[in-house]
Symmetry: C2
Subunit: 608 residues, 2 copies
Amino acid sequence: MFMTLKRLLIGRPLKSTELGEQKLNKKKALAILSSDALSSVAYGPEQILLVLVTVGTVAFWYSIPIGIGVLVLLAALILSYRQIIFAYPHGGGAYVVSKENLGKYPGLVAGSSLLVDYILTVAVSVSAGTDAITSAFPSLHAYTVPIAILFVVFITLLNLRGVTESASILAYPVYLFVIALFILIGAGVYDILTGGVPSELHAPVGTPVMGLSLFLLLKAFASGSSALTGVEAISNAIPNFKSPSPNNASKTLITMGVLLAILFSGIVFLAYYYGISPLAEVTVVSQIAEQTFGRNGMYYFIQGTTALILILAANTGYSAFPLLAVNLAKDKFIPRMFTIRGDRLGYSNGIIMLGIFSILLILMFQGQTEQLIPLYAVGVFIPFTLSQTGMMLKWLREKPEGWVSRFIINTAGAIICFVVTMMFFLTKFNQVWPVLLFLPLIILLFHRINKHYNAVGEQLSLATGDPVLPIEGNVVILPVAGITHVVEQSLNYVKSLSPDQIIAVYIPFEREEEALFEEKWNKRHPEVRLVTLHSPYRSIIQPLLKFIDVVDRKAKESNYQVTVIIPQFIPKKGWHNFLHNQTSFYIRTRLLYQKDVVVTTVPYHLKK
Amino acid sequence: MFMTLKRLLIGRPLKSTELGEQKLNKKKALAILSSDALSSVAYGPEQILLVLVTVGTVAFWYSIPIGIGVLVLLAALILSYRQIIFAYPHGGGAYVVSKENLGKYPGLVAGSSLLVDYILTVAVSVSAGTDAITSAFPSLHAYTVPIAILFVVFITLLNLRGVTESASILAYPVYLFVIALFILIGAGVYDILTGGVPSELHAPVGTPVMGLSLFLLLKAFASGSSALTGVEAISNAIPNFKSPSPNNASKTLITMGVLLAILFSGIVFLAYYYGISPLAEVTVVSQIAEQTFGRNGMYYFIQGTTALILILAANTGYSAFPLLAVNLAKDKFIPRMFTIRGDRLGYSNGIIMLGIFSILLILMFQGQTEQLIPLYAVGVFIPFTLSQTGMMLKWLREKPEGWVSRFIINTAGAIICFVVTMMFFLTKFNQVWPVLLFLPLIILLFHRINKHYNAVGEQLSLATGDPVLPIEGNVVILPVAGITHVVEQSLNYVKSLSPDQIIAVYIPFEREEEALFEEKWNKRHPEVRLVTLHSPYRSIIQPLLKFIDVVDRKAKESNYQVTVIIPQFIPKKGWHNFLHNQTSFYIRTRLLYQKDVVVTTVPYHLKK
């Protein structure tokens, strides 16, 4: 039944050889990998105005120079991530770059902060999209959390079906959003050029502003930079591209950069020209749309596609997280299971984990995840800074042809990213401090996982592990609860292996049962030694473990191996399991974990 | 860690031979087994007035004849349960009496309806007691459900510690309650006798009342009878009494009956004489106490002990439920685990189940369990009726000396109980109908459990089961994932058993790995046959199951037994388990449940 449901939800399993068909062309890749970055346009410009408004609306013209600053940063990031794509064509982005050039720990800082960030991406963007929907339909407000969770489940399932399938479905809303904003910006600029908008709505650029400090400007710049989160996603997901993947990835990255630059500057400019103030209930984009079109169909089209892309921004996390996890798992920093491809050739464990953690975050914050945005932004700028610095070192060390210009690009990127990161810590410390707590904790965990895997590897290797112990003979212990069909069958099996010694063990709770059973046993199986262990505390497992200890110690002396036979009922129907004490399961687990004995389970399939 | 907590909460384990010390003397038994019945005094008289007030306060004098009716019923019940105690000294009460005299299904009706009833007892009485507390401290009102759950957990733990220990602690509040009510009734009667209470407060007995129907009177009588729930508990719990248990149980029953009669008639009389009307916010007992003493210390003492005994009434369920469950489990109608004595010699599974179900009920009704009271009352009167009828038949059949008077007592009891049961269905059908739904469902479940256990018994018996199959030889299958220490050790073990055939199975996901591994294997273990099963869908289990099927079919033809060896990592620390795919566990479970092969687990204990 579970299998049928699974097939229905995620489709038939794919052969490993069908992997090629699961690669993305540029159009689809752009849609799913840039949705996070593009969606930031919906809130990035607003973040700048929210800082400036604390001084007064006259300061709004500063959004123009700040916007230009963000564009410069964007250009530096795009150019330097383009270089990363060609230098590390197997993906892994900031994690791989930092690890290779700066060392293990910087790599782990970049990797773990991105890993956490993708979880934040999913939680924050789905919550924001759900908010947009419940604002439109207030009757749904009470169901914000379940609706957000449903969206996460839906996107998770879509990704489990495979990357091409999710891309085919999700491409439409992304392109619709881009078209909607292009129409909006085009119509707005046309209105302005044709003199349809009075120029008194805004203070001219250069108007002196009282009380505006450099600190505030930097804070506004850092806030605006949050529009650049998601830019790194493509560099993590290169293996998802059709061959030649680095070229395709690079072209997609450039396209995304250009689109992002146009949309971002368009919105910043229109907001400035219309003199729009950030309001609690209405977003800046919504205000621009209303001023441009009024509340007509176009307005609702823009609002609808914005809500949709906010939710779909989550999908970028689903594309980048599993591939980053594969890189970390291959380096043995996180559990090996993240390297396993699922039925549909996606890394399903990564996809499922991302879904689970996002749902937990949504539940923890009851869908109110806005306060996580700065945390999320700083979580991107730390790996940005590290990867740029890593690239600087790479060029310095390798000095390939034309390295100077590349070095300059990465240096500029590194400096700007470092400044932005510092800005977040200086201006929003009360929101970003958790990063200082959980990054070290995660890295400690990664370190311990790594240590364990290395230790296991050493122990398993024939070259470095202990020598394999010889086995000179076998002792078999058979716990019996009576003289029944199950016991006879198990004994039959043991005898067929002809071990050196067979010991049947009987554990009565009452003294009277002891002699009675011994008599019955010796009549039926005089050839098999019976040991009875009276258990005054009515425990089966304690006396059995003690007895096995004694036997095992003696056996080890002469290199004999002890095997315990556990007969187990297998009922015909699942619910029948409740009717049988799960002693077999319990004894087996205890024996395997606590003793060094082999445990053989002889199943007894009940026929009715 | 779990063990330490367990020891702290429930104490050291007891030997089976210490069972005698876990028996109750009469004083303690009275306290824990009568708390349910005695606590009913706190709401029984009120139930009568609540029906009469629908006609008018002038009808209140009818509470006197109705009260006398309840006392007659009480006398009949006490006398006839006294007879049941001597006739069935091993306990089981209504279930055993009905089963022995009326047959399996009447027995199951009585048993299942009592089983459900004890769960209702716990939920209803703990909720009522919590209500009393939150009424006194309104700031706690928001926490009604968690407080009620905490009480259930507390009583459950107390009972897991053992029946004597819980009795020692719980005896005080019960006796304090009895003393408090004795003082109240004594002071009230003294006031009346000394003329301190004006006689105009009530209409004299015999005042004609307009619009009072027989139906209403019977409804009032049925409501008042709810004060008699819990009277049967002693007959279920006879094995908990010190020897001679039937005599001690009988004396305890009589004492309880006398106490209940005095308290019940005292409260009914005072309520009538004071002319008290039932109010939504203040209970009848509270009104009587206030009229008698004013709001002084005595008043709060009465209120406090009443709240306490309401909660402790739950404990009667904890004494009777596990023993009833033992009887049902011995007859194979419910899972066998209910017959197992825990560390402290109580039937812990029954105690824990009762706790869990009560908590679920409290959660389901959010602590508002008052509407369950009629359901709970009818759930007691059905087994009352059945057991009395059963006793009638017993006397008619056995005709021991002096049987006629006994027959008359039980006949009277049966008729009254039958009338009361019918009254519940006629007057409160909208509250008691669920009993008609869940009793058949529970009995169906019991029937199916019984069928399964009988089928298992037949299959296990050497007399009736299939003959034990001979084993002519052994085939061992060893899945290998590489040439590692684990594989070498497992192979070493297999060789020591010298089976007739060893097959190593390797399952590569990629075609290239296949030849590579075969070469390596043949170089190292040319004596062991290797089978490689290419798995294009990256599943280990599917190709393995298919292969085992083929081998097993061939082996069965010549009576060979197939054994599959599963090597399993045992990490040193619990959390390391997350770092290893639980393939061993998964394969073992699938093999045991789906194939008829022996599964041998060779543990590999990691040293670091």
